[in-house]
Symmetry: C2
Subunit: 429 residues, 2 copies
């Protein structure tokens, strides 16, 4: 039987999951592809750390970069992480040495994906990264292979399981962000430093990768407008439900006539939409192709086993001798782009203002909206709260964002409006 020899760099959750999955399902993989996949070497920062896998008989290499020099290694699997440093050096060295690379490193790809792609093409090897965007969901394969006959018009979705878990729990259990975050950290669903997840950067990394694959542009973190979920309160989830919506952190990239819109922000989606049904740690990606129409892929975006499934999927392609350009088109043909300013975007909005509960406040706010030609679809104000003002919820009709921003600036100077209004886009209608 033919053999594919691999080295795994990084033995964290995904590294161990990959090792174990290759072992558990070795027989069925071999029967299916006629090639056996062997882990011939591994490397990790701490050799002696307790791990849930049995590494007996596997070569442990102290110097991680040395994996790229082993003559019996065909593929280096990079599961270390980090934009720069060992991960990037290892990938560069492996590709330069004519070894294919499989990586789950979305941050590295969002920042250095073009150069790494070009290096892979120059050396006629593969750079595979199914595990870098939405874990077990085969979105990269779908875009690089199944959808190549389509022009992609948009890509969007729920790309961060931690945020989706937090928003799901806040909605279901009427809890506040900080409380659910603390619970999620205790359960291991959120990192000790949650910034990458809850502030939207992880979603932005994935969105950069999907934008590049969709539109033939360079992945460009600097071009993503990013807003996280820290300002969401349980009242927003309750009001959203009352108005017929769910609240989700979305990454969105759309091709317009005059350019590409690209953003990460919490949005309202209708209760009856597919995205509204995507709860807990699940991810969802929605493509719109000119031929296929709408296509939704939903599955686990993280976790040892789901991510390992993606890594092993890439290895199976390599074992079968399948090769695809990392970014579909040749890396040298990817273009720079400046995203469209969001000011021109037309859409509906959910606004939450915290205001003093006295006569005339609503009249002032309504007048500002009217003066900016923004019409109100619904307005909710309820109850009285001690000392912190009362929330006013407004859903607008379609407006462009420039008008909305102008109205918000005028509201901000009212001394009856207590804090910066929360503004959420309404999507998917």
């Amino acid at each position: 039987m033919k053999k594919l020899n691999i080295a795994i760099a990084g033995l964290g959750t995904v590294g161990c999951g990959t090792y174990q999955l290759l072992k558990d399902n070795a027989a069925s993989i071999e029967e299916s592809i006629g090639t056996s996949i062997h882990v011939v070497a591994v490397s990790a920062r701490d050799r002696d750390k307790p791990r849930p896998i049995d590494l007996a008989g596997v070569r442990f290499v102290e110097d991680t970069l040395a994996l790229a020099d082993l003559p019996d290694v065909d593929v280096v699997v990079e599961l270390i992480g980090g934009i720069e440093g060992v991960a990037k050096n290892l990938c560069e060295k492996a590709l330069s040495n004519g070894k294919s690379v499989v990586t789950a490193n979305k941050a590295m790809l969002a920042h250095h994906g073009v150069a790494l792609g070009a290096l892979a093409e120059k050396n006629d090897v593969s750079l595979s990264f199914e595990a870098a965007a939405c874990g077990g969901i085969p979105i990269i394969k779908t875009m690089r292979e199944a959808m190549v006959g389509n022009r992609i018009l948009s890509v969007q979705g729920i790309m961060n399981g931690t945020c989706n878990y937090i928003l799901t729990r806040m909605a279901r259990d009427h809890l506040e962000f900080a409380d659910v975050l603390a619970q999620a950290q205790a359960l291991g669903y959120a990192e000790a430093d949650p910034t990458a997840d809850v502030d939207g950067f992880d979603t932005a990394h994935k969105l950069c990768i999907l934008t590049a694959l969709s539109f033939g542009v360079k992945p460009t973190m600097a071009s993503v407008s990013i807003e996280g979920i820290r300002r969401i309160s349980s009242v927003d989830l309750a009001y959203a439900a009352e108005l017929g919506y769910r609240l989700k952190l979305l990454g969105v990239a759309k091709l317009h006539k005059d350019g590409i819109e690209q953003r990460v922000s919490p949005c309202l989606v209708p209760l009856s939409s597919t995205l509204a049904s995507v709860d807990e740690v699940l991810n969802a990606v929605q493509l719109q192709g000119d031929a296929v129409g709408p296509l939704n892929l939903i599955g686990r975006g993280a976790g040892a086993q789901a991510t390992a499934s993606a890594v092993v999927g890439d290895l199976i392609d390599l074992a079968r001798g399948h090769k695809v350009n990392p970014w579909i088109r040749p890396s040298s043909s990817l273009t720079d782009f400046t995203p469209l300013p969001l000011e021109g975007r037309i859409g509906r909005w959910y606004l939450r203002l915290q205001v003093t509960d006295k006569a005339g406040v609503l009249a002032d706010i309504a007048a500002i909206l009217r003066d900016n030609a923004i019409s109100i679809e619904s307005l909710l104000q309820r109850g009285k709260q001690d000392g912190t003002g009362v929330p006013v919820i407004i859903v607008t009709h379609q407006t462009n964002e420039a008008k909305l921003r102008a109205a918000l600036a005028q509201m901000a100077v009212l001394d009856t409006v207590w804090e910066e209004p929360l503004c959420l886009r309404i999507e998917q209608e």
Copy 2:
């Protein structure tokens, strides 16, 4: 630039859609894969039928089977349809002549898939059929490639757009089956002879293909328990909604310890489930993998463009030189199987009985359920209808199907029960 020369047999909706898509997106396809895809010959029953495509300059071959003999053709695309006849003869001849085949013919694959797969393997060519299961949804690629590292535990979904359209319209507009079917036929969403769709055979063909890919068994139509949607009434959709469900025609195949469960039937799914959000002509397929967990793919299951997207996806794989066994494992290793009898299945049920509106009827029915150890979760009876009896709706707790069938047999002999009760499985909880 490298070339892939193809011949298209059958110029109906999908044939014309494929021809047009290859033409419209030729430049971006060539840039992505470095190979141009040329239609060098076509064949159809009626050469002069008006078609929405410009065939000027394309060789028209009167004898369809002759396409398989053309020396300059690399791939034959079979879009004729039919279990036997020209379609099958053409595929056999092309494969025997060392040409790869791309087909959308689910009925042929469900009946002759193993033999055709073996023939492709023997001649070292490909048999690709992404378009044969759920149109534009890349479920075949996902199973044959991305999920090969997983053991698949179940596959199920909404696999027929015509039925889903009918059920969606019945629910939304409170219409009866026959009325919506007539409208769907007028709109071209349903065939003049709707049997293949509404009686579940089309779903069963697709399910056979997906069962084979999931579990390494031979596609076996005879093993599918099939029930269509003709008996569904608008009252069922209304009651389902009231109880918190949507009604969908599902194909289901599950691996159990003692065998494979395989069936097509209308089922209730919870309103909050992803399947409940899949409306109109959309299809959905849900896989459960041992590593990836649940994976949902949702998109257009039919239509010229979506199906063409799948055909072109297969052609792109061939142009890239990618080759995969038709059924993942070698066709010779696919095993026969006898599906598990449904009698042993445990689950909840929705029952609708049409009964005489008089004292004691409900007591009789409740006694029969009790005597068969089936407990009732909810029971609805409302209003009085002239001459046709009144509907009684029962939702059961978990029971095995043998007990339910026994209870139904006892109810059937009551002269207060007017017709065979409608029984729908409740899924996805």
